[in-house]
Amino acid sequence: MTEIRIQQADFEPGAEIAALEDSGGAAGAIATFIGMVRGDGGLISMTLDHYAGMCESEIAAHAMEARKRWPILALRIVHRTGKLAPGDRIVFVGVASAHRQAAFQAAEFLMDYLKTRAPFWKLEQRAGEETWVSARNEDDASIRRWQ
């Protein structure tokens, strides 16, 4: 089971994990990741723009790539968009597998993709200014290690 949701609403980590746990009984391992807005450098809020449709299908393609690389029993990705404040949740990635290495590696692979290559754009609001975050170096080491 693969579930991918892009939504403005918050999500409940416990409910996402419960859905992964219900994935059949063969799971021995669930690795999850929750990303939150950091209040660094006077950040007041962050607004996430995304390309609806393309965003879901690109994330789905990477979820399929993860399933090719590791034996995954269930996989859930929830990504929020819109205006978020420091401390707000941004993203949930959860992977259920028989063994811990596969679960951890697939979750890291998906997070590295989501944080560097997924079609989102970030507008940061600080006192008196708004800045669109620049793309990182596209050769970001965190994503390159999977290639």
């Binding site: 449709g53 393309m54 299908s57 290559r117 669109w132 793309a135």
Partner: protein, 83 residues
Amino acid sequence: MKLLYFAWVRQKIGKPEEQLDMPPSVTTVSTLVDFLRQRGRGYEEAFRNPALVRVAVNQQHTDFNAVLRPGDEVAFFPPVTGG
């Protein structure tokens, strides 16, 4: 042709999307950009340095040489930053 704009491209052009009938001169992304730049100051600013703008046609990343057909969905945006 359906056009979509994201992030600062959207802010400069002032709208998230629009439906436009193209003149015969528009056959590629590059000629579409030439056409859009003549539509007003916001477009001119958005495409002043085309090297800063990325394009997707029918939700596939491509480049400014891509050929366009009627009914295509063309999106312009800065390099993606991830979530």
